[in-house]
């Protein structure tokens, strides 16, 4: 029997320091069969294991040419060590786990991405897939919020997306005081009013800190978007990713199993309550 607790061997093949505390690691599975077996849907996550330290869930930024990309901020004891890894460092990997963004169901609709901070990483692959099949979708709106302008990861990529037909890229910085094109001042949620999309035929995908998600829900409802058409990637203390350890329950769903991506209307009841 396949042991669901057993990691696969992986190795860091490349590392890019995006900011002083954010790194993108490119990982490769060591076993050729494991590489071939690996299949990833946009929005899923892996459990990354470091020797002697343990595991953390990290969303998959993209999977290209047999390389898994994980963008990680150094915040906890394991993520700090992950960010400090050098090329060639060995680690363990279980995954991918969880469900994916509804990009198939969203064909023919306007697509709206609202992300803040590192919340942009879990949607990158989805945006790339959508742009690769651009004609299958209507308008595309990409909103990203950061504290300071220099916190924005992948600035060049956002600039390239600006050139994509019918694609609106909106950026906001919450802790800047000076206006500077193309930035808006304030939270990412203030961008919703500037976004041009059909509120009756859109799919919204969100990822970021929970207060930002709550504010976005209010902003979206205010302009007439049904929360039935909004999706959010959520986070809880996932320790097993197998639906066993119980830590990631948010009311009814186990985030690792039924999530991490939820239709907002379905999770709203729990998500809006403090303490679940």
């Amino acid at each position: 029997m396949n042991d669901p607790w057993l990691p696969q061997q992986a190795v860091v093949v490349d590392k890019v320091m995006e900011t002083p505390d954010v790194a993108t690691l490119s990982l490769q599975l060591v076993e050729p069969e494991a590489q071939q077996r690996f299949h990833f849907d946009c929005g899923q996550f892996n459990m990354l294991y470091l020797y002697g330290l343990g595991e953390v869930p990290i969303s998959i930024m993209d999977y290209q040419h047999g390389c898994l990309q994980h963008t990680i901020r150094a915040v906890g004891r394991i993520s700090r060590t992950l960010v400090a890894l050098e090329t060639g460092a060995p680690l363990g990997l279980r995954g991918p786990y969880g469900n994916s963004w509804p990009i198939e169901d969203a064909r023919g609709r306007d697509l709206v991405f609202i992300t803040a901070g590192l919340g942009c990483a879990p949607v990158i692959a989805a945006i790339r897939r959508i742009i690769a099949a651009r004609t299958d979708y209507q308008r595309l709106v990409i909103m990203q919020g950061v504290k300071h302008r220099e916190d924005l990861l992948w600035q060049e990529q956002y600039e390239r997306w600006r050139e994509v037909p019918d694609c609106q890229v909106l950026l906001a910085a919450s802790e800047e005081r000076q206006e500077q094109f193309p930035w808006s001042l304030g939270m990412v949620t203030t961008l919703i009013d500037k976004a041009q999309f059909d509120v009756n035929n859109c799919t919204v995908m969100m990822c970021g800190p929970e207060p930002m998600i709550r504010a976005s829900m209010r902003g979206l409802e205010a302009v007439g978007v049904s929360l039935q058409n909004c999706f959010v990637s959520l986070e809880r203390n996932m320790q097993c990713a197998l639906g066993l350890c119980g830590h990631c329950q948010m009311g009814t769903p186990f985030i690792c199993r039924e999530g991490p991506i939820f239709r907002v209307a379905d999770i709203k009841e729990w998500f809006l309550l403090e303490g679940y």
Binding site: G52, L53, R77, I78, R80, T81
Partner: protein, 263 residues
């Protein structure tokens, strides 16, 4: 990479935590291979002024000399790890921090004038910045090794702040509070000992310090409700970890002042 250097310092204490290190057996041999022990007086290594990566400090700040020593230790060490109830809470010596203690010195010593003690016994963290605390009276070898291992891996160790009850139940013990009405402090005491006392049928006496979210009021009320005299309940909270606020507050709530006890 250079080997990490460590020192084991002693302030006011019984040396029990140093003894734990000395009694580690095979682990002590491994430790000697992994790090340079610069100062460890109980093992006969005497170099108290050594600059080190990690200083383990046993004992409380109880004398003027302790105050001076701990400032030096902080200056000459990259990491300071307080080990044991004395270093983490002031220890049993901190009983003098709570009131009713003025008469003790004259009751015990023929000439208390020779004592050079501070008015209070303080934890190390109350005087200098402490990077890590390992509780216990004495510390647990298992937790110490896990902490050293983590520091050598370059990360802070994971130290549980949950209640002793959690370890007690994992060990399959029967709750002595429920089955014997014993005044067990497990529900307000931090895990780490492996529920040592309850596994011998004895109630916990707080040596790993207060757990996260200690509901001392509810536990104290329960113990009083079980018929344990209020003064005894008060004393249960301030035996080993008398220097910490939640336990002092509980003591203040249930104590009966000495003058009311004495006819």
């Amino acid at each position: 990479m250079a080997r990490a250097s460590i020192a084991i310092h002693k302030l006011t204490s019984c040396s029990g935590c140093q003894s734990v290190i000395l009694n580690m057996g095979e682990n002590l041999l491994t430790l000697v291979q992994l790090v340079d022990i610069q100062h460890f007086i109980e093992a006969g290594v005497n170099n108290p002024d050594a600059q080190v990566d990690i200083a383990f400090v046993e004992g409380s700040i109880s004398t003027h000399e302790d105050e001076e020593r701990i400032r030096q230790v902080r200056e000459q060490s990259r990491f300071v790890v307080a080990i044991g109830a004395c270093a983490c809470s002031g220890g049993v010596q901190a009983l003098r921090n709570v009131k009713d203690s003025e008469h003790w010195a004259s009751a015990i010593y023929a000439d208390p004038g020779y004592l050079d003690s501070l008015a209070d016994s303080r934890s190390v963290a109350e005087r200098v910045k402490v990077d890590l605390q390992l509780w216990g009276c004495p510390i647990s070898e298992r937790q110490l090794i896990a902490a050293i291992r983590a520091l050598l891996h370059g990360v802070p160790p994971v130290l549980p702040t949950e209640k002793v009850c959690q370890e007690c139940k994992r060990a399959g013990q029967v709750c002595v509070l429920v089955s014997q009405a014993a005044p067990c402090m497990g529900p307000v005491t931090q895990a780490g000992c492996g529920a040592l006392c309850p596994s011998f049928g004895a109630p916990c006496y707080t040596c790993f310090g207060p757990s996260e979210q200690p509901n001392c009021d509810a536990l104290g009320e329960r113990l009083v409700g079980l018929g344990i005299p209020a003064n005894q309940v008060a004393e249960r909270f301030v035996s080993i970890s008398a220097g910490v606020k939640p336990f002092q507050n509980a003591w203040a709530r249930w104590r009966i002042p000495l003058k009311e006890l004495e006819p």
